[in-house]
Every structure is written in structure tokens, then in C-alpha cells.
Amino acid sequence: MIWFAWRQFRFQALVVFGLLVAVALFFIVTGPHLADLYGELKVCKAHGDCDSLTSSLLNTYNKELPFVQALDVIFPALLGMFWGAPLIARELESGTYRLAWTQGVTRSRWVLTKLAVVGGASMLATGLLSWMFTWWADPINTLNASRFGSAVFDTSYIAPIGYAAFAFALGVAAGVLWRRTVPAMATTIAAYVAVRVPFDHFVRPHLLSPVTLAASLKSVGNIGFERTPNGVSFIAGDVKRPNSLVASTSVVGKHGGEVTQQWLRDNCRSLLQLNSPNPGKGGHVTTGIRPKAFTECIDKISASFHEVLLYQPAYRFWTFQWIEMTIYLVIAVLLGALSYWWVRRRFA
């Protein structure tokens, strides 16, 4: 049965592994160059200013990088669509299930072997792509220092293996429920996106209880004021934490409270008076403010407020990779069980 599962899958497998070979060639050709640049950069760092070398490293492949990243992002979904969805749906659609399931192999074994062979291949292919990309992009990722960002976290290391298993099992389940390949493929991509995107944004930052950091507003870049319909409001950017994942930021009073309009009216009168005659337009109003009024107000705010940051620190990166991979593997197993159960129940 393993032989036959492979025989039916051979062509699809060749196409995808052929694509992987092409990507591998690109990495092999360009990877050493990136690594060399990074080596030079390390030597340079010992002496001091290396801005031009840094930008040269980041810019060399800035045209190719988005393509490779995009491929890494959609690769599991493609496997789900082209390997997962047709796996059983095509047999049901073309009627060949009547041939396949009446050979001397039980239905259970047939389904489980197919799931294992093609599902295993999905995880292997995605794992290989992720491993190659992780190796190739390492210098870039080190410089960018945002490993927890989607562009790296979702495309590198081991999490993609979980995504691959999930997408594949999703495709199979959609195929079994639809009994037709094309709607199953559409359902696969739609459901994959509908799970992954909210998960990335809303679930991942809270997978473990985040670490709290209270930072002085002086250490925060990008602070100032913004004109709103009812006056002026205070804005502050995030505290920079390399390679970490920010769950939330808020500006909180040291004794509670927020920087409200009322607070600004009470404490930064000069700031508001100067800017009141120019209503309607939004945006930063730092320009046109007397620097003195601006600085005074920022000082007053900094004395009473600080920025509270909830984040997942860089050292949790691998824990998160493991957690995320495990979660998606578990969902994949559940979906696989659903397909298995449905095939057995619905068709005997």
C-alpha cells in the first residue's frame, strides 16, 4: 500500500521537490555571499562605524527576499491545496474509490497510509524549505533583530512544519467533506488564512503570560502630540526590544490614570493655546510648536507617566516555536482523525 500511495503521489511530489531544488540552487549560489558580507561586518564592528556595510548586506537581496518570504509563507497552504485536497476528493470525484477500496486492503489502512505518506512528505518538504531559508537569511535576521516578527517566525525554524501538517490535514478534510477537488482547494486556502492570520495577531502574543516592563517615556522614541477633533492628544511609540514580541503597550500614570485631554489642559496650557487656531487637519503638530513648550510638556508627562510594555522576550523564541508547532500538529491530527472517521462512517 505504501508503494501504491507513493505511485499515485509521484508526479505531484516531483513538481514540488523540483521547486525546492530550484530554491535550493538560489540559496546555494547566494548564501555564501551573504555569509561573507556578514563576516566582513563582524570584523568591521570591532573598529566602529559600519553603516555602509550593513546597508549593503541588507540591500543586496532586498528584491529577492520578499519573493522567498512569500513562498515560505504560502508554501504550506499550497501543499494543503495541491496535495491535501485532492488526496481523497479526487478518488471520490472520479469514482475510482470504488476500485481502490475494493482491493484487498482495508479502508482504514488505505486512509492511514495515504495520510502518513503524503502528510509526511508535506512536513518534510516544508521543513526543508524552512531549514534552507533559516540558514540563508540568518545574517539578515541577525541584523534586523526582529526574530519574533511574522516575516521570520512564520517562515523559519520549526513552526512551518506544524503549519504544513495543518494545511495538509485541512485539505484532506475539506476534500472528504466536499467530495470534489476544486471547492475543497478553495476551502483549504480560505480556512488556512482564516485560522493563521487571527492566530498570529491575537493568540500568539498571549500563548504564555507576557513579561511586564515599565519604561521611562524618555527612553521611548517617537513621542509627541497629535491633533484630534477635540484638541491635542499625546502619542508614544513602542519601547524597542530586540527580537521580542510586543503584546501591548500603554502609557500609564505612576499613580494610575492616563494622559487625558483634561490633563493636558490642566498641565500644558501653553502647548494648547499655541496650536488652537489651526483646527481640522490631523497629524503631528510638533512643528510650529515652540520647542520650549513642547519640551516642558514632555518633561511634565514623563515625570508622572511611564510606558508599560507587555511582551514576549527574545529568550522565549524557541519555546514559542515549539508551542506553535505543537498546537498546529495537534489540530492536524484532529482533522486527520475527522477525515478518517468520516470516510469510515460515510462510506461504510
Partner: protein, 298 residues
């Protein structure tokens, strides 16, 4: 003697519609069985139940005294040819034979190769390029090379031209003669069955109307022509299947254990086709009565 197929109160429902109901059958092994009925009578449902492609809604079913699709061994003992003879269009004939060898416990590779050779087919040809008749022969080869004890064929000749049809049926007869195999063969055409079958099951309106060895059936059914008066005096031992009355003449199809000796009737010869049609129209009549009764109740 083992049963080829034994069903007790077997039923299959799709949504609210019963495709097969109250089916009780015991077909002994060693026959070539014709399963005949109009389109939509439940023939495919019964065969799919028998190979385990469907699970029954009610009742029980054993095939060769085992539950369908219960084990690789059981699956290996049944050769199944599905309607429209599905094969994998992208795979070559050779790969199909490899598949059979890899997936079946008692695969007879020699038999399979010889048959492909005798049919004049090129083993490296893709199945998608075969004609309807060739595809049916390939599918039949796959079923036969399993060395099954029972062959189940679902409308195997329905889509074949007359020549391919004759060749196909001849192959079946050869197989029956060479290997001791029971065959259940469905069709909506009695003429096909008459040539090869020695046992008949008539399925109509989701129910088994009659079943038995064809010789016995023909010996116990009579077509009688007489008067209305004679009809009213038929003994209780005679069971009427179909009746038609025109002025001064009544024609009935009956079944009776004892021969009909009443001189009021003239007894006509009964063909298999007449017999099948009589049961089918009886089923149709009953179905209409049922619909009418339901309408009246409303």
C-alpha cells in the same frame, strides 16, 4: 453450502429516501446470478453494500459468510467491477496490474498478464486512452486476477457496444468454467442475463420482488388466458402477480406450486422477460397505489 450473499431485512436510506428496504435474500454460492431491475431500483446500492462501500441503515448482510470489507482476506475474496468500470486514467495498464499485485493477498500475476496479452493490449498504455470495452476488460482483469470466490459486477455491459458486450459476457462464462467462482451480475436488460445466468433476483421499487433459480422460476410461473369468471374462481394456492382484463378476456401471470389443470384457462409459455416484466409492473402498481393512498389520506 456457503451463501454467496445473505441479507436479512437489509435497508439503506439516503436522507429520507430508501434506496433499498426490507431486503431478505439468501443466494447460494455456485451460481451466476442476474440482479435485474429498472434504473434506480437499488441494484447499485445492494452491490455497494455487499462490497462494503456503503454501510446498511438497517438489517445485516454477509458475503461469503463474512461481513463485507471486514478484513483484507475478505476483500481479497471478492472481485468487484463498479459501474462504468473506473480505472486510473493517468496510470498505465502495467501499473494497474502492479497495484493489484501490491494490494491483494492472492494475486495471480500470470493470469493478469496473459489476459492483457490475449486482449492485445499494450501494457505500457495509459488507461485513460482505452476504449470503453478495453477499459471494462482491464477492470475485469483486475477483478479476476484477485482469484476471487465471488465476482460482483455492476451493470458491466451497459455502456458497451453489442460486440464488446458479447465478448465481455463470453469472458465471464470462461471464468466461471475455469475457476469455481460465483457471480452476481446486475443489469436492467433481461436479454443480457438470459444468456449467462442460472439464478435471478428481481429488484424493483427498492425491494426484492422475487428470487430463485431460473429453471424453478420458469417452472412455477404461468401465464393464463381465460375469462373474468374463471379469474374469480382461482384457488387460493395460486398467487396472482399481474392481471389484465379486457372485454371477455382476462390474462394473468401467476405463480403456483401445483400445475394449473383447470380447463377454463389456456396456459401459455412464459419467458424470462415476461416473468421479470410481470414483477416489475406489479412493483410499479404497488408503488402507485401507495402514492394514491398517501394522497387520499391528506
Amino acid at each position: 453450502m456457503t451463501s454467496a450473499l445473505r441479507a436479512t431485512d437489509l435497508g439503506k436510506r439516503y436522507g429520507r429516501k430508501w434506496a433499498l428496504s426490507s431486503c431478505t435474500l439468501d443466494i447460494p454460492a455456485g451460481h451466476v446470478v442476474g440482479l435485474v431491475g429498472p434504473n434506480g431500483a437499488g441494484k447499485t446500492t445492494l452491490l455497494h453494500l455487499a462490497v462494503g462501500l456503503l454501510a446498511p441503515t438497517t438489517g445485516t448482510l454477509t458475503v461469503l459468510d463474512e461481513k463485507p470489507a471486514s478484513s483484507p482476506e475478505q476483500l481479497g475474496r471478492i472481485g468487484f467491477l463498479a459501474q462504468d468500470t473506473p480505472v486510473y486514467p493517468n496510470l498505465t495498464i502495467d501499473t494497474h496490474l502492479h497495484m493489484g499485485a501490491a494490494l491483494n493477498p492472492h494475486w495471480d500475476a500470470q493470469l493478469a498478464e496473459r489476459r492483457i496479452h490475449d486482449l492485445g493490449l499494450d501494457p505500457s498504455q495509459r488507461a485513460g486512452g482505452l476504449s470503453g470495452g478495453q477499459r471494462a476488460q482491464l477492470a475485469l482483469t483486475l477483478a479476476i486476477a484477485k482469484r476471487p470466490s465471488l465476482l460482483l459486477l455492476d451493470e458491466p455491459v451497459a455502456s458497451l457496444d453489442p460486440l464488446a458486450r458479447r465478448e465481455f459476457l463470453a469472458t465471464i462464462m470462461e471464468v466461471v468454467a475455469e475457476h469455481e467462482v460465483s457471480v452476481i451480475l446486475s443489469s436492467h436488460l433481461v436479454a443480457d442475463l438470459e444468456r449467462v445466468c442460472d439464478y435471478l433476483v428481481v429488484l424493483a421499487a427498492s425491494r426484492v420482488q422475487v428470487n430463485g433459480e431460473i429453471d424453478d422460476l420458469l417452472a412455477s410461473h404461468y401465464r393464463l388466458v381465460g375469462t373474468r369468471q374463471a379469474f374469480d374462481h382461482l384457488p387460493d394456492s395460486v398467487h396472482v402477480i399481474e392481471e389484465s382484463h379486457v372485454e371477455r378476456q382476462t390474462t394473468v401471470t401467476v405463480t403456483s406450486v401445483d400445475p394449473i389443470l383447470d380447463p377454463a384457462w389456456s396456459v401459455e409459455e412464459m419467458t424470462l422477460e415476461d416473468l421479470v416484466l410481470a414483477y416489475m409492473s406489479q412493483a410499479e402498481e404497488q408503488r402507485r397505489d401507495l402514492v394514491r393512498a398517501k394522497g387520499g389520506a391528506r
